[in-house]
Symmetry: none
Subunit: 220 residues, 4 copies
């Protein structure tokens, strides 16, 4: 924090783009190792309380090495979010575009959420965004631009098509696509805070949610 220079805007060092050295063989990529360690530390303690020292230790590198790949702590955090969230969205858009009955598509999306997000460290990144976003406008903006707005658009498309086919009654959802994903968010938050008191069956939760939206599913 404080008055350190703060170049922020995370510059990927040349060497990483055109990567050289005996990498590609078996040497674990330094940058990846650091990002992975950072995810652990940041989601375990929050951005401010996480120590780069611990990140370095966990990544198996020296503290100074982090600065070869990231200009500062904040940039490391931002790159972490980008690197985890970035790849996610394309897959999601693809899922949402297939032209099948909405319920089916929704189920696929839910499946993907459970498998690819809730079941992985990615949910921790989303939790991080929720927790730290207010302090990191750039992160929030990135997330809005790269994820939220596209998810919203994709879901809207899906729902409009469904509405046209009469698969869903109202246009409520099309106006507030957030309602479709709300339970996913709840699940992530619940998981972080209350799972040890009362574990949540996400899959069941999401199914119940779809039942509410699309009407009881006829198992037949």
């Amino acid at each position: 924090m404080a008055a350190r220079p703060k170049a922020s805007r995370s510059v990927r060092p040349a060497k990483t783009r055109g990567r050289r050295r005996r990498n590609g063989a078996g040497a674990p990529d330094r940058r990846e190792a650091i990002l992975a360690a950072a995810l652990d530390e940041f989601s375990g303690r929050g951005f401010a309380a996480a120590r780069l020292d611990d990140v370095a230790k966990r990544a198996g590198v020296a503290k100074g090495t982090i600065y070869l790949y990231f200009p500062d702590k904040e940039a490391l955090f931002q790159d972490l979010v980008r690197s985890v969230i970035g790849p996610l969205i394309e897959r999601f858009e693809a899922s949402a575009e297939v032209d099948l009955p909405a319920r089916l598509v929704a189920e696929r999306i839910v499946d993907m959420f459970v498998r690819e997000i809730y079941g992985t460290r990615r949910k921790d990144v989303i939790r991080l965004i929720i927790a730290e976003g207010p302090r990191f406008p750039e992160i929030a903006e990135f997330y809005y631009r790269e994820v939220i707005s596209r998810v919203v658009a994709a879901v809207r498309g899906l729902l409009r098509r469904a509405a046209e086919r009469g698969e869903i009654p109202a246009e409520a959802l099309a106006r507030f696509p957030q309602l479709l994903v709300a339970p996913g968010l709840v699940a992530i938050v619940w998981n972080g805070l209350f799972d040890r008191f009362e574990p949540l069956d996400v899959a069941a939760l999401m199914r119940a949610h779809l039942d509410l939206l699309f009407g009881e599913r006829r198992p037949g």
Copy 2:
């Protein structure tokens, strides 16, 4: 740092009992001023990054004064959460118990949420709990015990009655009362992260949500 147990339980100094000074008239209570300032600072920067110095400045007291009312930074945080959340829950339970059609009760609850939480600083406290809860097991536990479990119970009761009267189709909701409040959570998170990109009409969101649950509302 981290979340050491540390019973804490912040002691209200004697002075509040036998209070001196021109308090009793209308002078803002020191303790309240500090809590208010703490809410601002904590929700603005997060627990770890917030400076007690700033809390003091904002509260118009000296740094040391904070320690007359709270044993340490963590206790201040915990007391803040307790003092804001505590009073909330009773009102909520009362709302949920009235014996009226579920839709009506739900609407009242939604109204209360919008007015008493979303429209006040309380939403910031909830955001804080979401953000810091994983690092503060005591906070998470308190919140689970005092809020979540009671809300869940109250909502379950409400929904069961509604289901018995045939007002809502499924028992999905009774199994996952989280689904009822999910949009509230989404609204709070959205408000903190994305409102400046795309403001959210919470009232409309919540209404749409109720429409989905109870079927389109007949405006008549």
Copy 3:
């Protein structure tokens, strides 16, 4: 410490000299209570680490009350030393002046040391002087002027008379009266540091010491 005004030179407030109030009846003297509490706290934790808050608590007065009797922490410390050490010395000089065989006089002095110093809180004050003296030139000077130099003079007189009568062999002691009291100091230091590992029988130690100086004592 630091840059506080520091009037030091402990001014006994007028009220204490010409003491008023229902004192003399049975009301415990405030000043004495504070000094007693200060002795406990200072000898328990050292000057710097002792807290006036604790002194006040132990004395049963409010923190501010201390400042009615002593200008600051340092003056309290100095007055403490003076009030405990002052009365001691006259008694000692009287003991040393009686015209009896040196061995007898020495035995009386030793007795007095054991009873009046080693056996009371006064030994703690001496320990305090040893510990804090280097930081409190005034204390050291007071102690040297009021105690050491007078003890040394008295002991010298005693020894010279004894030497003249042939009771002690050498003039070594007269040159270094410190040698006479050295075991007393050792006892005090030992008591503070090592008594829990190996308790010291002071009386026996002092007797052995006298035996060395005056030759074996014929019990007959």
Copy 4:
């Protein structure tokens, strides 16, 4: 504050093992510089009042550097004592074990005391132990175990042999070896408190002491 147990045991950082920098030539070791500075500051102001800031300044390092070598202020203090006292004792035991007339051995020991302790900063450490020992049980214990008990044992051996050979009259000393070293302690305390009022000729003091114990020394 106070004297919490706290295993401490200050860790020598790796750098000392595989040392870099032009050390190995003659550059003063960081750790040593800090210890030396700490000795100055601690013995000048006492443990509690000494400021690590000043220690750092005096050692020519940054404040944070201290924490690379010592976990905290207390450990620095303890290590200081250990590092100064540790090496002392072996030499002393060796001196006490030679099989020569007791008077000669005693004179050697006294010489060693004057040269190696009284004439060096080591006397300041002993003063520190006396002053702070009551607050630092571990220090007192260490000192008792590593120094006192061994000195006592060595002196006892020495005296027993002397008694057997009839060199000293009584067994008083063997029961209270403290009597042999008492003047050394007095000298150290005197030096710290009263030397500016009345300097002490330690060598003469110690010689006079030996004369008392072993009988006048025949100059022939």
